[in-house]
């Protein structure tokens, strides 16, 4: 195993005079001073400016607040399978399924959609597991990172709010294709004797 004993040579007489340390310290400061005099500002180099005047632009693929999305035709994508509710490590998601009497869905042939879908943004940790497990691509972590509210109730986002914040996500329209193939089967010529 290659080990390396760190160098701790005692300070020389010159170094004990504090002078070299002061000089090298000033050198570091001067270097940074000249850099910023030339227009380089660390804060603006690393981001676009000073938060909150200039909001932080998050990286591609950032995990912000999770919102529900609609498909191209404005239908709710979520089918209330409750996988996200199950996986959610801080238990922030609460789904109320439609039940036997509820409206199954807002589009033809889809099995069901949630009667209520609530995310408690005070509990949510933006881990992204809901998006990862969703078998319908119905929930996405979007770019919002600064959520504020004046009460706890306000921070529980319901289905309506989540859908309006989420926007649309174009993708495979799974249930549309299922409907088409089902309709196709219905017009299939059946032999009659």
């Amino acid at each position: 195993m290659s080990t390396k004993v760190v160098d701790r040579t005692p300070l020389t007489f010159y170094e004990r005079s504090y002078l070299p340390a002061i000089l090298s310290g000033l050198k570091v400061t001067a270097r940074h001073f000249l850099r910023s005099a030339k227009g380089h500002n660390t804060a603006t180099d690393l981001s676009q400016g000073y938060y909150p005047e200039v909001p932080w632009t998050v990286a591609e693929g950032y995990r912000g607040a999770p919102y529900l999305v609609r498909d191209q035709e404005g239908h709710t994508k979520c089918v209330s399978c409750q996988l996200c509710e199950f996986i959610c490590p801080p238990k922030a998601i609460k789904i109320t399924p439609p039940g036997p009497e509820g409206i199954p869905s807002d589009r033809a042939n889809a099995e069901k959609m949630p009667r209520e879908f609530e995310i408690n943004m005070l509990r949510c940790i933006f881990c992204g597991m809901c998006q990862e497990v969703c078998p319908e691509e119905a929930i996405f972590l979007q770019k919002d990172y600064s959520l504020t509210g004046t009460s706890r109730e306000e921070m529980i986002y319901n289905k309506e709010k989540l859908l309006s914040l989420g926007g649309t996500h174009a993708g495979i329209q799974k249930w549309k294709h299922k409907l088409e193939s089902a309709q196709h089967q219905e017009v299939f010529p059946v032999k009659t004797h």
Binding site: M1, K4, V58, F86
Partner: protein, 429 residues
């Protein structure tokens, strides 16, 4: 804690305090001679780096006894782990050593993979990305450790420069994992995503900049008389004492014991990479500082090797897998889940029941920035651990305080706490 005096102190192991009696002491002062003052440092004190409370007994300005009191940040992580599947616990590991969440993610994933017997079947690209994560986390944690240590001792400038560099690491981590702080990057059997395009070049650029920062920190501290006077021969931990108290990480190596889990029990692809293990010779705070600085430089060296050797290259044109190819361990690809029945079933099974771990017990320790972070998993089979024990390096490293603090001046305590570089999120867990 009703009274601080009720805590039973253990006898200080070394450094019996010698307090010189002043000849010019007044009469009322002489009456006070021999009275000890019990002082609470923390739980909320700038130099305790979190919620550590140390009850010290002072004779004048000299510490005669010290007792750390921990548990202010206890969240019951080990019990929480028993009630969720293995993958669900990954976000909790972010919050152990919150200065190096990526390294915790990797250590935890490797522990569960060892239980499942797939730790040696990880694809090479996965191993290299995990090493990159670990070493970035190490640089980040050491930059903070040295910066805060210097700030506690009085050198404010260092802290500001190291934090600028950490910001760059956070930017890299943000584009890699999607979060700056709570990364939750690993899953059992792999990672959530591959390197984003252009990331390798950004990382190389950062490495070139961070070595400049190391040089600056070195020029501000290493040969600075004030710094040397404050840290040299302060908080000396002998080799034997370090081993007896079970120290790991830079604190152990500062005492001259060349034990590094990456070398002693290589995991991931560490055996293919070249790096030196820096060790100290005396075991004082100065040695621990030097070891941390050298270790960060070695991490840069490791990162350069990893980025060069990365299987599949920066863009992964050859489509190297970055997780194991097993539908019962990692979630199937999303397009398959949407269109195919088999994958949809796997998705539901894996999410609701978790990975199918065999019964048995396993311990896996990884070299984290603070020391050896170990996970002991006792499994009765299935997707949930029966018991998960976290061997937190900060917890063990703090246990040495009653042995090394007595005999030091009050202001040296700040130096010693800074040089031990602990983090309470991990200690109390």
């Amino acid at each position: 804690m009703a009274t601080a005096q009720t805590i039973s102190f253990r006898e200080p192991a070394s450094h019996a305090a010698e307090v010189p009696k002043s000849a010019v002491m007044g009469e009322d002062l002489q009456e006070l001679q021999g009275d000890k003052l019990v002082l609470n440092i923390g739980p909320s004190h700038p130099s305790t780096h979190g919620v550590l409370r140390v009850v010290v007994e002072l004779d004048g300005e000299t510490i005669t006894k010290a007792m750390p009191d921990i548990g202010y940040l206890h969240r019951g992580d080990e019990k929480i782990a028993e009630n969720m599947t293995y993958n669900q616990f990954v976000p909790y590991t972010d919050r152990l050593d919150y200065l190096a969440p990526l390294a915790n993610n990797v250590a935890y994933a490797l522990a569960v993979e060892k239980l499942m017997g797939i730790h040696d079947k990880l694809p090479p690209r996965c191993q290299y990305i995990r090493v990159i994560c670990c070493e970035l986390a190490r640089i980040s944690a050491h930059l903070l450790g040295v910066g805060c240590f210097a700030m506690d001792v009085g050198a404010m400038t260092v802290f500001l420069h190291t934090f600028t560099e950490r910001e760059k690491i956070y930017n890299l981590i943000e584009s890699l994992t999607g979060a700056r702080f709570t990364t939750s990057y690993t899953r059992i059997g792999g990672m959530t995503r591959d390197l984003p395009p252009g990331w390798v070049d950004q990382c190389r650029k950062f490495l070139d900049e961070v070595v400049v920062c190391f040089a600056e920190v070195g020029s501000l501290l290493t040969r600075n008389r004030i710094w040397v006077d404050r840290t040299r021969d302060v908080g000396v931990i002998s080799k034997e004492l370090a081993i007896n108290y079970g120290l790991t990480g830079p604190n152990l190596r500062g005492s001259g014991v060349a034990y590094d889990v990456r070398k002693a029990h290589p995991y991931l692809c560490y055996s293919d990479l070249e790096f030196d293990v820096p060790v100290g010779s005396v075991g004082d705070s100065y040695d621990r500082y030097l070891v941390r600085m050298e270790e960060s430089q070695q991490s840069v060296r490791l990162l350069h090797q990893c980025l060069d050797k990365l299987p599949g290259g920066a863009d992964n044109r050859s489509k190297e897998p970055f997780h194991v190819q097993d539908g019962k361990t990692v979630l199937p690809p999303k397009d398959k889940v949407l269109t195919s029945m088999e994958e949809l079933i796997h998705q539901f099974m894996l999410v609701t029941q978790g990975v199918n771990a065999p019964p048995g017990e396993v311990y896996f320790g990884a070299e984290n920035p603070k020391g050896e972070l170990g996970f002991y998993i006792n499994s009765r089979g299935g997707g949930t651990p029966y018991r998960l024990k976290i061997r937190a390096p900060s917890f063990v490293n703090l246990s040495i305080l009653p042995a090394i603090l007595p005999g030091h001046m009050m202001s040296d305590m700040v130096t010693i706490l800074g040089s031990l570089d602990f983090v309470m999120g991990e200690c109390d867990r």
